[in-house]
């Protein structure tokens, strides 16, 4: 289950969130009612939008795009009261942010190797 305060993933039977210490069982016993359309949901769910935008403008465009789409889904499903759907979208947004970071680092490493080879070969010339 996901913590309603910080969004951290916890064991389904956890009493308190391992990350921020919120009482998870108390949160569960509150009858869930979807927030009215357009109202701000009371649950916090990370949508990783900041990382998605960073990925898009600074690092790896192709992976940043799905991250932004999933970030929009997180908030859209929260607005509709679909907590489980929002959690799925949140996970996907996070995954694409990591993919994008990995791809960006890979490009950097490949570039570094190419530059090093280029420097070496120009030394021998």
């Amino acid at each position: 289950m996901f913590c309603t305060q910080c969004g951290a993933s916890n064991a389904d039977n956890a009493a308190v969130c391992a990350r921020c210490g919120r009482n998870l069982q108390a949160a569960l016993s509150v009858p869930g009612q979807p927030p009215a359309a357009g109202q701000m949901p009371s649950i916090f769910m990370p949508n990783y939008l900041v990382f998605a935008i960073l990925a898009t403008v600074l690092c790896c465009l192709p992976a940043g795009i799905p991250a932004i789409v999933y970030a929009a889904q997180v908030n859209g499903k929260l607005q509709a009261g679909d907590i489980a759907g929002a959690q799925d979208a949140s996970k996907n947004a996070k995954m694409w942010c990591w993919i994008s970071l990995g791809a960006g680092l890979a490009v950097g490493v490949v570039w570094g190797i190419l530059a090093a080879i280029g420097a070496l070969s120009s030394m021998h010339r």
């Binding site: 910080c6 990350r19 921020c20 210490g21 357009g38 701000m40 949901p41 916090f44 949508n47 939008l49 900041v50 935008i53 960073l54 898009t56 403008v57 600074l58 690092c59 790896c60 465009l61 795009i65 932004i68 789409v69 970030a71 929009a72 889904q73 908030n75 859209g76 607005q79 490009v107 950097g108 490949v110 570039w111 570094g112 530059a115």
Partner: protein, 140 residues
């Protein structure tokens, strides 16, 4: 509070961020071979929405807002939001408290997505006024 794995991770991220900013301040990506080129630009010759953002950050660190704006206006516009989000995330890991959260309705995020894509397309259109959006063309 004990120094947990999360704290080390955060400290490492902040150290990387600081190192990146110092590097960006010292080396201009426009003239230094230190930074990889944008893969899309390198392979296809097209600008992506992020092209010029590293050079813009360099100009910003040098205090040249106008030059930074000319290189990538989108990055400059989004920067305050990115800074707030990063600070909010860091503060949560350190103090366990969020800065006041901005809940963006999904429509806004989709609109932002549209803006990023349109910006990426528009800056490749080779005639006035769209050519102004290509990196470094805006007068400064």
């Amino acid at each position: 509070m004990p120094f947990s794995r999360k704290h080390w991770l955060l400290a490492a991220m902040l150290a990387v961020l600081a190192a990146a900013m110092v590097t960006l301040d010292f080396f201009d990506p426009a003239t230094s071979g230190l930074f990889p080129p944008c893969p899309l630009r390198y392979l296809t010759g097209w600008y992506c929405p992020g092209c010029g953002s590293l050079r813009a950050m360099h100009q910003l660190l040098q205090g040249n807002l106008r030059a930074a704006w000319a290189l990538n206006p989108l990055t400059i516009v989004l920067l305050p939001f990115l800074a707030y989000g990063t600070a909010s995330y860091a503060l949560f890991e350190i103090r366990g408290r969020h800065l006041p959260q901005i809940f963006l309705p999904a429509v806004w995020i989709r609109a932002l997505f549209g803006v990023i894509v349109l910006f990426g397309i528009a800056r490749n259109i080779p005639f006035h006024p769209f050519d102004l959006l290509a990196p470094g063309v805006l007068p400064h």
